[in-house]
């Protein structure tokens, strides 16, 4: 009995030692991984900056804070990665928060750039921001991959989101109730979707009051992927095989159809800056609008040219 007890204690001590060493190891790894980018950003500018004569004050660290629409976020992050790779002395912090938050952040000076996935509202125009269209995006009306419906007319989409069409069999699908998924009030994607599909009037949004509401493009995608009878809308850039985008009036959403003006549900991505745009923010926007930056836009979104 006694030996069993001491064996147990020994096992516990061994476990603790293992746990401690494991902790030690992981923190070492963490510190090593965080130190490498810092080291590289210190060493590389010394080599590259003499060649980059066009960039003044290249040796000092510049930080650009970007926030706003969750629809613009994935694109802004990719642009930021490429931008940082080209100019190692610049750090771009990209955050979400939503279109309205992006405008608010720029006005309050929290961010250098505020992203919106819609045109500015009248109340936001008063801030006199510099608006830069960096790309166009489609809004994909999507369903669960197992849904037999592949195409809807614009009127059918309107009817479904207004709550007038409530069964899939009315639009050529199975005899199942339609679960309508929308976004929270104030979302740029929702605003653009309602504007384009005329789902708003002077009394506000016309989207059915019984619609489920999910947070962000990710929330809608997760809900669509898990619900066979659901329909929702999300940024074309975040569509993957977990959801099925529908054709609208026989036109599938894609970069080509939106560019040609055939797919009706598209909107601009804006980067908004204050009148006194910071140097870093201007560099970043110039980069996105350059051929190099637009090449990144091309992968999933529509270029401005």
């Amino acid at each position: 009995m006694k030996t069993l007890k001491s064996a147990g204690i020994l096992a516990m001590i061994l476990l603790m030692v293992f746990a401690l060493t494991a902790c030690g190891g992981s923190t070492e790894n963490a510190s090593a991984s965080t130190s490498t980018p810092a080291a590289s950003s210190e060493s590389t500018p010394a080599e590259t900056t003499p060649a980059e004569t066009s960039e003044p004050a290249a040796a000092e660290e510049i930080t650009v804070n970007v926030s706003g629409s969750t629809s613009v976020l994935p694109l802004a992050q990719e642009e930021a990665d490429a931008f940082e790779a080209k100019y190692p002395n610049v750090r771009v912090n990209v955050n979400g928060g939503g279109s309205s938050q992006g405008v608010k952040d720029v006005v309050e000076g929290i961010s250098d750039i505020g992203n919106t996935s819609r045109n500015l509202k009248d109340s936001e125009k008063e801030f006199n921001l510099n608006e830069h269209v960096i790309a166009y995006d489609g809004i994909a009306v999507s369903v669960h991959p197992s849904n037999p419906v592949t195409s809807l007319s614009k009127e059918q989409v309107q009817g479904i989101f207004k709550g007038e069409i409530t069964n899939w069999k009315d639009v050529g699908g199975n005899d199942e109730e339609i679960v309508v998924i929308s976004r929270e009030d104030g979302s740029g994607t929702r605003g653009a979707f309602e504007e384009i599909l005329k789902l708003e009037d002077e009394s506000g949004s016309l989207v059915s009051e019984t619609a489920l509401i999910f947070n962000g493009n990710g929330g809608v995608k997760a809900a669509l992927a898990s619900k066979e009878t659901a329909i929702g809308y999300l940024s074309l850039g975040v569509v993957d095989e977990s959801v099925k985008p529908l054709e609208i009036d026989g036109v599938a959403p894609s970069v080509e159809t939106i560019k040609a003006g055939d797919y009706p549900v598209s909107r601009p991505f804006l980067m908004n800056t204050p009148q006194e745009t910071t140097e870093g923010a201007q560099m970043f926007i110039d980069f996105i609008l350059s051929d190099e930056g637009q090449a990144i836009v091309e992968d999933g979104y529509i270029t401005v040219k």
Binding site: E124, D185, S187, S203, L212, I213, S226
Partner: protein, 304 residues
């Protein structure tokens, strides 16, 4: 001033000189404790003032009745009625009580009275672990497991009052179990012995003597559970469907006050933004009432 100095000098000089250092130390430590205590008070005051300053103008602009009794939340049309959210919070909490309280109290009785020690030995840590699981994981579990289950069994989308109530009911279990068990154990053993001596069965004694005697402790446990349920945000947001509409059945989606704030805070501007703080004020009032009720019950317990 001089007099005061004299007095302090007297007090310090009276004991041996050696005591001086420890006196200062004592004084210093007391101040540190005082500052720590004030930190909590200051935080509560700051949060309260901030929420009311931000929220009250919106409520007065919208109108108290329009705000709290309006059944339409439609910021795009300047309609800010939070009745659906108040109803959502209350219904979800009632649902959580309906599921969590019976299970919780029976578990507490089992642990305090019936469970053999080697069963209690792993039930209790399991309950404690349940308390430690982050709420977002409850929500995630609900989204992946409970939502499809409810949809399959009862029909509908699965994002519903029922799902939210179930998740909240499980979340408040640890609070109810541990506090109720403590209340049951605090009942003097003579009560039970007396009941048994009078010929009562064990289970009968539990229900007619033990639980009534521990009543105020159990009620306090339930109210604390309610506080947790009404304040929960993340788990509810993932499973409730978040439709701002007064639910007509347990299978309808709901939006609670907390999720209303969390969902729209990032997107709101102008009056919409302030109305979210107004929602916070109403939520705050609810929590205050709950705290007062808890205080009343705990106080009465002591007075007895």
């Amino acid at each position: 001033m001089i007099l005061e100095n004299d007095r302090i000098e007297q007090r310090v000089l009276k004991p041996m000189k050696k005591m001086k250092w420890s006196d200062i130390f004592e004084w210093l430590i007391e101040r540190v404790f005082f500052i720590c205590a004030m930190f909590a008070v200051f935080s509560v005051a700051a949060i309260t003032i901030f929420i009311f300053i931000k929220g009250l103008p919106a409520i007065s602009e919208i109108g108290l009745l329009n705000f709290t009794l309006g059944s339409k939340w439609k910021p795009s049309a300047n309609l800010f009625g939070i009745l659906p959210m108040i109803a959502g919070s209350i219904f979800a909490t009632i649902g959580a009580i309906a599921i969590g309280v019976p299970v919780g109290i029976f578990t507490a009785v089992y642990l305090a009275e019936i469970a053999p020690p080697n069963v209690a030995k792993f039930v209790r840590p399991a309950v404690e672990l349940l308390a430690g699981i982050p709420s977002v994981l409850y929500g995630f579990f609900g989204l992946v497991v409970i939502v499809p289950l409810v949809s399959d069994v009862f029909g509908g989308a699965g994002y519903s009052l029922l799902t939210a109530s179930f998740i909240l009911g499980v979340m408040i279990l640890p609070t109810i179990i541990s506090l109720s068990e403590a209340a049951l154990r605090a009942v003097p053993v003579e009560y039970k012995e007396g009941a048994l001596a009078l010929g009562s069965s064990h289970i009968n004694a539990v229900f007619t003597v033990l639980i009534p005697a521990a009543r105020s402790g159990i009620v306090a446990a339930i109210i604390l559970g309610v506080g947790r349920a009404i304040g929960e945000t993340m788990a509810v947001m993932l499973v409730a469907g978040n439709t701002p509409r007064v639910p007509g059945s347990v299978l309808d989606p709901i939006r609670t006050m907390t999720t209303n704030i969390a969902m729209e805070m990032n997107y709101a501007v102008d009056l919409h933004f302030d109305a979210l703080f107004g929602t916070g004020v109403v939520l705050f009032v609810f929590i205050m009432i709950l705290n007062l009720v808890t205080y009343f019950f705990v106080h009465r317990n002591v007075a007895k």
